[in-house]
């Protein structure tokens, strides 16, 4: 047998050593997340530094929400749905409420629709800020998480004032929203918008134009448009591939149809493009919120519903969709005419991004880019677990 390690004169200096037949090895990342977004494990098979195969493993957060919702009253479920996506909870509430409204034929007061859009966009901004920080964290730019998470707190302050809660707001309920804006709230929103707009310039200098970020993320994790469509990408991940599609434009809900905003796209579809599309979306969110504050009509904010303990929603089903910060979010709700929903199916955006697309994109990537690719897809594990 050939010796593996020989000296200059041909002597076998490590007689027992054998060449490894199988060069692949397994590496587990998680479940205490490679970034900050939740408990999610990656089982990687590597050869050297290159990922040969990737398997995702979820279930660490599984709380059986879909089953639990069948056991609870329509109004009680509001407290559950918000917890399905932690960084961006409002699309869940709004989507759930809109599904009930679609089945029961409930009109939502116009002012409530405006407030919902305000809340949704604030939530989108908070979620994007979180993502920028997390993305910075995955490539060693640790100032970014400190900045964005503290700036996000200003938005959470607004939520606290409006809804009484910072993270899970439980604010959008079937028929409208829970209560009207506090006095002077508009001005405080505007202050925060100005603040974040100013901060964006600093983010550019610190992060988006940072040479480290450019070196690490340009050309990494490329998801071409045809693949993105084939694999079912939505949201910013699809837009970064040059496909300008947004549920807010194409399947408008609430008052998005009346607002002026644009859909940022990019063409390269790498980690940097996905990041930069989200950064541009932040500007659009600011623009939307300013229009909302200008156009906000007076009036009631809740169309009063019957006693929630006895409220029977007529039989029927509805599939409602939202553009969340992660992508297309949808709820399929079936009611059999009882006091509880018969079935609620949550289609989180990360169901496709976090499992199928991530597994495919990691193949051939390098180990140090794994968490960055996961983060650039903005996959939110609780949406997968439900």
């Amino acid at each position: 047998m050939d010796s593996l390690i020989t000296a200059n004169d041909g002597r076998d200096i490590m007689p027992g050593a054998r060449a490894l037949e199988n060069r692949e090895y397994n590496l587990f990342i998680g479940p205490n997340h490679p970034g900050i977004e939740g408990n999610f494990a990656l089982k990687l098979t590597l050869e050297g530094d290159t990922i040969v195969k990737a398997k995702t493993e979820a279930g660490f957060l599984h709380r059986g929400f879909e089953k639990l919702m069948e056991e609870r009253l329509f109004m009680q479920n509001i407290a559950i749905v918000a917890r399905i996506c932690v960084p961006d909870p409002d699309p869940n509430e709004e989507n759930y409420a809109r599904a009930v409204e679609a089945i029961a034929g409930i009109e939502v007061p116009r002012r409530a629709q405006f407030i919902r859009v305000l809340v949704l966009e604030l939530s989108r901004m908070a979620s994007h800020l979180f993502t920028f920080g997390g993305h910075g964290g995955t490539i060693g730019l640790y100032t970014m998480p400190n900045w964005t998470v503290s700036d996000r707190d200003r938005i959470l302050d607004l939520f606290e004032e409006l809804t009484g809660a910072r993270v899970y707001h439980l604010y959008n309920i079937p028929g409208g929203v829970r209560r009207d804006l506090p006095q002077g709230f508009e001005n405080r929103v505007k202050e925060v918008l100005f603040f974040i707009e100013d901060r964006l310039k600093e983010y550019d200098e610190l992060f988006f134009n940072n040479r480290v970020l450019l070196e690490r993320s340009v050309g990494v994790g490329v998801l071409p448009q045809d693949r993105a469509l084939e694999w079912g990408a939505t949201g910013a991940n699809l837009r970064a591939a040059g496909f300008a599609y947004d549920v807010r434009k194409d399947d408008p809900y609430e008052v998005y149809g009346e607002l002026e905003f644009e859909i940022p796209t990019a063409t390269d579809s790498d980690c940097y493009s996905r990041l930069i599309v989200r950064r541009r979306e932040l500007e659009q969110s600011i623009r939307i919120i300013r229009q909302i504050l200008d156009k906000m009509p007076p009036g009631p904010v809740w169309n009063k519903q019957p006693n929630p303990l006895k409220w029977r929603v007529p039989a029927g089903d509805a599939y409602v969709r939202t553009e969340s910060s992660k992508g297309e979010y949808a709820y399929y709700m079936v009611s059999d005419g009882g006091v509880r929903p018969y079935r609620v199916h949550v289609r989180g955006a990360s169901v496709t991004h976090g499992v199928h697309i991530l597994e495919n994109m990691l193949r051939g990537a390098r180990i140090e880019d794994a968490s960055q690719i996961m983060f650039s897809l903005d996959a939110c594990p609780p949406e997968v677990d439900r």
């Binding site: 493993e57 979820a58 279930g59 599984h62 059986g64 879909e66 089953k67 639990l68 056991e71 679609a102 550019d204 988006f208 134009n209 040479r211 450019l214 070196e215 340009v218 469509l229 084939e230 694999w231 079912g232 939505t234 496909f243 300008a244 599609y245 947004d246 434009k249 194409d250 399947d251 644009e262 859909i263 940022p264 796209t265 990019a266 063409t267 390269d268 940097y272 493009s273 930069i276 599309v277 950064r279 541009r280 089903d317 599939y319 969709r321 297309e328 949808a330 399929y332 079936v334 018969y342 079935r343 199916h345 289609r347 169901v351 496709t352 499992v355 199928h356 677990d385």
Partner: protein
């Protein structure tokens, strides 16, 4: 290294239509009837059409939807357990980027046999939805090569999302409800039950 590239994100005022001119719901319905021979579909709401499809026709329906009508996006597959009728209802939600319309195809399958053809060969995202339904409802998708357990890897019981699996009964069978009588509690506040309910302390 190129200069910083914030301009790489360009802003479009309006998304380009995916391919071709958008069709109205009526056009889509007539195209379905003419080209696919499916006449059960109707318009339910703006941008929503739905209808029923026989289980054995679903695969060819889905293929035609993709190849002839140009539908590109499978939004989700939902499963509903209609236990009283002995059926599972699979609802395939297709979204047409071109027409901005959601097409929901409802398929009823027998609950006892619970088998269905996969559409993973047509839509890759279907693989996870089917895997999820297989795990939670026990519906077997013929031709899907990846139906291994995902979330419930330690679970040997029946598929938990079925209506005949009652989580409350399961909890009562498998978990003991404890009363929290600990010595320090008694010392501090006279015991859990004594202090909270005003009753006599029960021996747990």
């Amino acid at each position: 290294m190129n200069k910083p590239t914030l301009d790489r994100a360009n802003v479009l005022a309006r998304p380009p239509a995916a391919v071709g001119k958008p069709r109205s719901a009526a056009d889509l319905l007539s195209a379905m009837a003419d080209e696919l021979g499916i006449k059960t579909f109707f318009q339910k709401a703006p941008r929503r059409i739905e209808g029923t499809v026989a289980p054995e026709l679903l695969h060819s329906f889905a293929a035609n939807l993709r190849n002839r009508l140009g539908v590109e996006h499978l939004s989700a597959i939902s499963c509903v357990d209609w236990i009283d009728q002995g059926q599972f209802e699979l609802v395939y939600h297709f979204w047409s980027y071109r027409d901005s319309t959601l097409m929901s195809a409802k398929v009823r399958i027998d609950r006892a046999t619970a088998q269905m053809d996969t559409i993973t060969d047509l839509w890759q995202p279907a693989s996870f939805f089917e895997r999820d339904i297989h795990e939670m409802f026990g519906v077997y998708f013929r031709g899907n090569g990846d139906l291994e357990k995902y979330i419930l890897s330690d679970w040997n019981g029946p598929p938990p999302m079925r209506k005949d699996f009652v989580s409350r009964d399961f909890a009562h069978e498998h978990f003991q409800f404890k009363t929290y009588d600990v010595p320090w509690d008694e010392r501090i506040q006279g015991g859990y039950y004594g202090s909270r309910n005003g009753e006599e302390k029960k021996n747990g």
